[in-house]
């Protein structure tokens, strides 16, 4: 079983119990906040006068506990991190919005979720904060259009995690964050002793044990590391529904689950040149042609709009493929024949890039299909495996006629459609947004 469960990643009317699950999560969230004392604005505001640092203690304990469990589960291969919502980085709107939130925090004495815990237990100031919140969110919706460029683009870096920023392994960041939190807890207690006149001797004696357990768990996450691409590839499954025609009865639809290798051996991810070409004119999808050959071959001949990503650069573009494009993007990989494209396919699907297909027979087959009456292109009898099977008079790139076949001339093309568009949840819909 792979987590997160695909049927749970978003609420959907098709699965009404997803509403129940999210409501249960919310219930536990609200319950925990209230029992920690976050329904009382004095406890929250005290954080900023150093008299009681409950906010910092609860928040950072929660962050480090969730972080250690999360990356532990990722390292053990139980959880697919690429399916976990990671807030995209917008530096400018994040900093300005964060500062504004800080002002609201100290003036109002709550943050949005703690105001829910407060209002629901009868605190009138909590209700007023909630009410104000509706006005504030409304005002943002009304004014966003005046700075929409800045809001959507300034300091935008997409899905970036701290390990990428500092260039160190993820496990090392987990260890560092845990030690930073432990240091902050120690500092917070000293501040409470000095400013809040708190008697630390009455605090639970088990705290150092908890701190050691947490540090040990962080080191465990560090040593487990991240699962290899190969492990991820072997765990992949693909679902296909197949219709079997019956002679004297209604057709039967069957749902089959294939492994990645079965998808290749059953040729379910290979699409004909006709289908690859027609995808361009299909309103429901957004095809991206990835040409994984060397730059030399690409310059000699490539189909129109194809992007050259030589195999050795594939890993660099994966983060972009995971975050940037719209959800209906279909990647069509091509090499001269199929070998290099199959390798690239394995890397991409193991990295959880959705909707990846391979051009059947590669560029050679494309030329044979669309360019067989082009006298300038002559078959090369000496071509080896996965090499260009034609001789080119010049490196014209995509300026041969067959690079962009005429959509009118090829209006009716027969093919068996292999592309099954899989709409993963819209990433922009995650998080608080």
């Amino acid at each position: 079983m792979n987590f997160p469960l695909p049927s749970l990643v978003a609420v959907s009317a098709a699965n009404p119990w997803t509403y129940v699950l999210f409501a249960v999560i919310g219930f536990a969230f609200g319950y925990t906040l209230e029992m920690s004392g976050f329904g009382d604005s004095r406890k929250l505001a005290a954080q900023f006068y150093f008299t009681e640092l409950t906010v910092l203690k609860v928040m950072f304990t929660a962050i480090v506990v969730a972080m250690v469990l999360l990356f532990g589960a990722v390292g053990l291969g139980l959880l697919d991190f690429s399916q976990v919502w990671v807030n995209p980085t917008y530096l400018a709107s994040g900093i300005v919005g964060g500062l504004i939130m800080g002002v609201g925090f100290i003036v109002g004495g709550f943050c949005p979720t703690t105001s829910l815990a407060s209002a629901s237990t009868g605190k009138i100031d909590g209700m007023m904060f909630m009410l104000g919140g509706f006005v504030g969110a409304f005002l943002f919706g009304e004014t966003e259009q005046y700075f929409t460029q800045w809001y959507n683009n300034a300091g935008y870096f997409g899905r970036v995690t701290l390990d990428q920023v500092f260039g160190i392994p993820l496990g090392a960041v987990v260890v560092l964050v845990v030690f930073m939190a432990l240091f902050m807890f120690w500092g917070a207690e000293q501040l409470e002793r000095i400013f809040g006149k708190k008697d630390l001797s009455k605090e639970p004696k088990l705290r150092p044990v908890g701190a050691m357990l947490l540090a040990a768990a962080a080191f465990a996450v560090f040593f487990i590391g991240s699962p290899s691409l190969e492990d991820k590839y072997n765990k992949l499954t693909f679902t296909r529904t197949e219709t079997i025609e019956q002679l004297n009865a209604d057709p039967i639809t069957e749902t089959k689950i294939y492994t990645a290798d079965e998808m290749l051996s059953n040729r379910l991810v290979f699409i004909t040149p006709a289908e690859a070409f027609k995808a361009k004119y299909n309103q429901s999808m957004n095809p991206v042609y990835l040409d994984v050959r060397s730059e030399t071959d690409y310059n000699l001949y490539h189909i129109e709009d194809a992007v050259n990503v030589p195999a050795e650069r594939m890993t660099e573009v994966i983060p972009v493929l995971l975050t940037e494009p719209p959800a209906n993007t279909v990647y069509i990989l091509m090499s001269n024949d199929e070998a290099a494209a199959v390798q690239a396919w394995k890397t991409l699907v193991a990295s959880s890039v959705p909707n990846v297909y391979i051009l059947e027979g590669g560029v050679n087959n494309w030329i044979a299909f669309f360019g067989n009456d082009d006298k300038a292109l002559q078959p090369d009898p000496n071509a080896g495996d996965d090499q260009l099977g034609f001789v080119f008079p010049a490196a014209l790139g995509s300026r041969y006629e067959s690079c962009s076949p005429n959509p009118i001339e090829y209006e009716s093309l027969e093919f068996e459609a292999k592309i099954k568009l899989q709409l993963k949840r819209d990433k922009s819909g995650g998080g608080c947004g």
Partner: protein, 181 residues
């Protein structure tokens, strides 16, 4: 904080709050389970703007169609409440209520600093709510959606937002100390 019994709604004895580290551990496990099962973290401010969008959409659907921000949530026949964050929001309200009920903390009262009136406190919390949610929508998430959830997934942007929130609050704390001390 007092542990003595006070009269509350339903007359349940008021119990003390749990220790912050225990509260944090439970909250951390809840947050992890949310990520583990659904791939989403925790949040609430998104629900506020979705409820707003619903209200605007029912009063003036044409206005929604002219406003790109609202359009994403409530354009056409989209139901702005059809999002995971909405059941989380209402669940959190009910969860807070339940904890208040079981721990004897359901009580109509105003939590405030000793030197301001109830009215000042109400006005300030309303104003704080306006400011906070404006900032939360700008930063694409509040203390829950950004600091807590993004902090746990090690999102670079969320850590920046978290420090900005604390920076803003600490920066202003001295000037509004009359409100709390």
């Amino acid at each position: 904080m007092t542990t003595q019994t006070r009269k509350t709604i339903f007359n349940r004895p008021e119990k003390p709050y749990v220790h912050p580290y225990i509260g944090g551990i439970v909250l951390g496990v809840v947050l992890f389970l949310a990520f583990f099962l659904t791939g989403n973290g925790l949040g609430s401010s998104g629900a506020t703007s979705r409820i707003d969008a619903l209200i605007v959409d029912s009063i003036s659907p044409a206005h929604v169609d002219n406003n790109p921000y609202l359009l994403k949530m409530a354009g056409g026949d989209k139901n702005p409440l059809d999002d995971w964050i909405v059941p989380v929001f209402f669940g959190a309200l009910f969860g807070g209520f339940s904890s208040g009920f079981f721990n004897g903390r359901l009580k109509f009262m105003t939590t405030k600093g000793p030197n301001i009136s109830n009215r000042t406190r109400w006005l300030m919390s309303f104003l704080g709510g306006v400011i906070f949610l404006y900032g939360a929508r700008m930063a694409r998430g509040c203390t829950s959606g950004q600091a807590l959830s993004g902090g746990a997934t090690l999102s670079a942007g969320s850590w920046v937002v978290m420090f900005a929130i604390f920076g803003g609050a600490y920066g202003l704390a001295y000037f509004v100390r009359k409100l709390w001390n």
